[in-house]
């Protein structure tokens, strides 16, 4: 048997979902008995059948990927509840198995996939999608690329006409319909208290459920960024969101400012100061990349 043939057969079995009691399925991929399928490839020994030996790998696979999902998306898990969360993960992995050497990228397609398969978040669609977007932004902000930052003095004496400022790759700008940042921070605080007794764990679980249930819809604008290598969430105003989004999409500074104030209540005579202050703050936090024309100067 060729190596690739054997590897394909084993992977099909290893990636096949477990039963509700977390055992290997009795039916093999493509039909037939799994015991016969396993025996075709794997030797039994004096303690374990071929089925049982293959099952070790089948279970390890699912425990590992579900564990990674639970670690990266604690908020989504709290919103959906553990059983529904795990069902959703299995369905996602069946369609989107890992295509990368690192588990870090495994859930990169989750938001898109959920939009195509809303039945997994039915009844909580907006809240769940907001949470997925925030939790993925958190991951990207944690280890995303940082390019040389623009300093306010870099632009001294330069005209900004026609200039396009790029946001750092690790900066994420989000429009959300629920204040899910509050929820995430609450879960994060929970996670810092380790070594809990069972009783304490139960109390915490109820408090998470209560926090999800109590969350009222509210439009917010958020920047997920990092400073000194820690990730922060920063609420921003609508005008700031419009301005940053326009810059991210490659608009010039003048055009981004125009777009920012299209439906703004900021009085016209205050807008110059408003923009200056924002740009200073954002530059201080290192959100802008140094434009290439300055880098090469």
């Amino acid at each position: 048997m060729r190596l690739v043939t054997l590897q394909r057969a084993v992977v099909r079995a290893v990636m096949q979902p477990l039963t509700p009691s977390e055992r290997m399925q009795r039916t093999a991929p493509g039909g037939g008995r799994m015991s016969a399928y396993a025996a075709r490839y794997i030797k039994p020994n004096d303690r374990l059948t071929s089925f049982e030996r293959l099952e070790i790998y089948n279970r390890q696979y699912w425990f590992r990927v579900l564990g990674s999902m639970a670690e990266d998306f604690p908020g989504l898990r709290a919103i959906l509840g553990q059983p529904r969360f795990e069902d959703m993960c299995r369905a996602y992995l069946a369609e989107c198995p890992s295509r990368s050497f690192t588990l870090r990228n495994l859930w990169a397609r989750l938001e898109t996939w959920l939009r195509r398969n809303p039945k997994w978040i039915r009844g909580k669609q907006t809240l769940a999608l907001d949470m997925v977007r925030l939790e993925w932004a958190d991951i990207e902000a944690f280890d995303g690329k940082a390019e040389p930052a623009l300093h306010p003095e870099d632009l001294n004496g330069s005209s900004t006409r026609g200039l396009r400022l790029r946001l750092q790759p690790y900066v994420r700008v989000l429009e959300l319909h629920y204040p899910v940042d509050d929820l995430t921070l609450e879960f994060r605080d929970d996670d810092t208290a380790d070594f809990a007794s069972n009783a304490l764990t139960e109390t915490r679980r109820s408090s998470k459920v209560r926090a999800v249930a109590a969350l009222e819809p509210k439009q917010i604008f958020l920047v997920v960024h990092r400073m000194d290598f820690s990730v922060y969430f920063r609420r921003i105003e609508h005008e700031e969101f419009a301005l940053l989004s326009a810059l991210r999409s490659g608009k010039t500074i003048e055009r981004a400012i125009e777009l920012a104030f299209q439906r703004s209540s900021v009085p016209e005579f205050d807008r110059g100061g408003y923009v200056r202050l924002r740009f200073q703050t954002w530059a201080t936090m290192g959100w802008f990349c140094r434009p290439e024309e300055i880098c090469t100067r």
């Binding site: 190596l3 590897q7 004096d46 030996r53 790998y57 890992s98 995303g144 290598f229």
Partner: protein, 283 residues
């Protein structure tokens, strides 16, 4: 024994795996440690805290890279993006050698993120050795392949695990990261004598040794890296050192991780066997 060409002619002593719960202790207390082993994949990222920590560690310690997803034994060629990122990291760490597992874990671009056991066939040995050579040529750093612990054996196998290991390293002309805990775990799961394995390995190719703890279940042993090293594993280590001489040794502790001091203390127990090995001769 001085270093060999498979570990860049280095003479490293006892190291421990660099793990997140110990970062603060290491950076603030600066304990004396011969070297750290990093999991390459944890640092094959674009930026952020992990790379910052790594740079701080590199300022003060020797670092060796250990990978978990190159899958030398997978039938398909390595992923180009993986190789590109790995090479970037090799340049950053200046690792004197690089190790990954003698296993497979992906097929047709789908990854299991597990260390799956090889079928011990001549075809698999040829494919695996070619891949080791390709990776070494691209990365321009000596490669050592690590034997994995396993829970299954394939009908198609044409040789023992140690014969397969020898076949691969001879064809690839690469080093061995000899994991004596993995040998012990597999010996119990597959009913072979672990000393036969250790005695069959070409000692001159051993670049590094791994020690670790494991967990016993009713019908098999699982490689959990969540315990101190057990006596039978120390005995295998002693034998490996008798054959290979003073060899860079690394304690793996990846789950239920205790304090830095406890992990380091456990690793330093290896000194009992490393003392006065200068006269050791490979037998």
């Amino acid at each position: 024994m001085p270093g060999n060409r498979f570990n860049g002619f280095t003479d490293y002593g006892i190291g421990i795996g660099l793990r997140a719960p110990h970062y603060e202790h290491i950076l603030s207390r600066k304990p004396v440690v011969d070297w750290f082993e990093i999991i390459s994949e944890n640092f094959m990222i674009d930026g952020g805290r992990p790379l910052r920590i790594l740079d701080q560690i590199l300022d003060q310690y020797k670092v060796v890279q250990h990978g978990v997803s190159m899958y030398f034994g997978s039938a398909h060629k390595p992923d180009r993006e993986h190789l590109r990122r790995l090479k970037e990291l090799v340049k950053r760490t200046n690792t004197p050698w690089l190790s990954d597992h003698l296993c497979w874990g992906s097929v047709d671009g789908r990854y299991t993120h597990d260390l799956l056991p090889m079928p011990y066939t001549f075809e698999a040995a040829r494919i695996t050795a070619q891949k080791v050579r390709d990776v070494r040529d691209f990365l321009e750093v000596p490669i050592a392949v690590e034997n994995v612990s396993s829970y299954a054996e394939f009908h198609v196998s044409e040789m023992t695990e140690w014969e397969f290991l020898n076949e691969v390293v001879e064809q690839a002309d690469c080093g061995i990261l000899l994991d004596v805990n993995n040998i012990y775990v597999s010996s119990r799961n597959h009913n072979f004598d672990p000393f036969t394995y250790v005695n069959s390995v070409p000692a001159e190719r051993v670049a590094q040794i791994h020690i670790a703890g494991h967990s016993k279940f009713k019908k098999y042993i699982l490689d959990t890296h969540d315990h101190p090293v057990l006596d039978p594993v120390w005995k295998l280590y002693e034998r490996a050192i008798q054959r290979a001489g003073h060899t860079a040794t690394l304690l793996e502790w990846d789950d239920s991780i205790p304090s830095f001091q406890e992990v380091h203390r456990e690793a330093l127990k290896a000194n009992r066997f490393l003392v006065d090995t200068t006269l050791a001769v490979a037998v």
